[in-house]
């Protein structure tokens, strides 16, 4: 009987919404607009030394991000020696491959990168629901077709988390934040053995 209660409890917890699972409660939507300020300056080149870890292999390179206009960002990855590995143009609805190494031109990989980068650079969005826990605010939004949660600590965006079936799928964490720039960014996949670490060099 005790086992059954425990199982039912687990089942209920399993069905609970993502915000509830991590201890947030519903609150009123305060602002209709959410802004990710970290790639919002058209005049700035955002240049990061990057490490991409797939399974146990790590690849280094330089990730470059640039806001081209109000909707579009350009994202390119080069080796340290300068060869371009990929170069994408990305907006909320469009994704254009300007260049990719033939060996990496795989649908699955492109789809993962498209989703990760779209979440990373999407500048403006509106909350569908808002939650709170102490000083922290959690906003549920939809980017493309994906549900994401934006965590703000004292009005600073610290995480963008993609959630599916009320479970965390991908987390983008922003660190060393100052002057509307995150100098360290960590993208972690929970279902794939894929992690991307970015450190600003400019």
């Amino acid at each position: 009987m005790r086992f059954l209660t425990f199982s039912l409890f687990l089942l209920l917890l399993g069905c609970a919404s993502y915000p509830k699972k991590i201890g947030y409660t519903t609150t009123e939507i305060v602002s209709q607009k959410i802004v990710n300020p970290y790639f919002s300056d058209k005049k700035k080149d955002y240049v990061y030394k990057s490490n991409i870890t797939v399974f146990k292999n790590t690849f280094g390179g330089i990730l470059v991000l640039k806001k081209m206009d109000d909707e579009t960002h350009r994202i390119a990855f080069t080796t340290e020696l300068g060869n371009t590995i990929f170069d994408f143009s990305i907006s909320e609805t469009e994704f254009k491959v300007n260049r990719i190494l033939k060996e990496l031109d795989r649908k699955i990989l492109l789809s993962v990168l498209e989703q990760d980068f779209r979440s990373l650079v999407q500048e403006k969005t509106s909350p569908l629901e808002t939650f709170e826990k102490g000083e922290n605010i959690l906003n549920k939004v939809k980017i493309g077709s994906k549900i994401q949660y934006y965590t703000f600590k004292n009005d600073t965006l610290t995480n963008i988390t993609r959630v599916g079936n009320q479970r965390e799928k991908v987390d983008i964490a922003f660190f060393e934040i100052g002057n509307t720039m995150a100098r360290h960014i960590q993208i972690s996949h929970k279902n794939l053995k894929l992690a991307i670490s970015l450190r600003a060099i400019k």
Binding site: D45, G60, E80, T84, R99
Partner: protein, 205 residues
């Protein structure tokens, strides 16, 4: 009218800046570079690398030290703005990425083997192989400038052209690697020291 004049001046200015070399001149340059490369057993040098992507406001600048030991050991040690070392040695590619070390065997990969060979060749300048490249000779502001266009499409998919600027002595001063998109990497060498023993550790991680 003024606009026409401006366009004319612009193009004639370009023509002045870059002129074609005569056949005799190009032959003597080839000879000089070959001689120089045969005499050069080691090179150590500083370098500054400029990565140009058309959509960026500024080139991405990095710098460090290069070491070369004949016939094809090369070490690129980036020091700014990040620490990164890549060594081409015995058909292997060794990488130390800020403490993370890795090794790649190039023996099985024809393309990387070629790349390794090309990198060594572009450092000492001896790339005058008509089988591998279309070659064109110029002078730019007096300095010899040679365009090497890889013939193998497997390679030209990566790099459309190498532009190498030589000194009067036949040493490489600058290498520009142009990608099919037109974006490029320009590497400028300085403080070159030749034929001074380089410790083996430089070619290890």
């Amino acid at each position: 009218m003024y606009r026409l004049l401006a366009i004319f001046l612009f193009f004639s200015g370009m023509a002045f800046a870059q002129t074609k070399m005569s056949v005799e001149e190009s032959k003597s340059l080839q000879k000089l570079v070959k001689q120089k490369s045969e005499q050069t057993k080691t090179i150590s040098s500083d370098f500054v690398q400029y990565k140009h992507l058309d959509f960026l406001s500024n080139d991405i600048e990095s710098s460090g030290k290069l070491a070369y030991k004949s016939p094809d050991n090369v070490s690129w040690q980036y020091q700014k703005p990040f620490s990164y070392k890549v060594v081409f040695k015995d058909e292997k590619l060794l990488i130390n990425d800020n403490g993370n070390k890795s090794k790649l065997d190039l023996g099985s990969n024809e393309l990387f083997k070629q790349l390794n060979h090309l990198i060594s060749a572009s450092i000492n300048g001896d790339m005058f192989s008509a089988d591998e490249f279309e070659i064109a000779y110029f002078r730019e502001n007096g300095a010899p400038l040679v365009h090497f266009l890889p013939k193998d499409p497997k390679f030209s998919d990566f790099i459309k052209a190498f532009h190498i600027t030589f000194s009067k002595e036949g040493t490489v001063e600058e290498v520009k690697m142009i990608e099919p998109s037109g974006d490029y990497t320009r590497i400028v060498f300085s403080n070159r020291v030749e034929n001074k023993a380089i410790p083996d550790a430089v070619f290890d991680l």
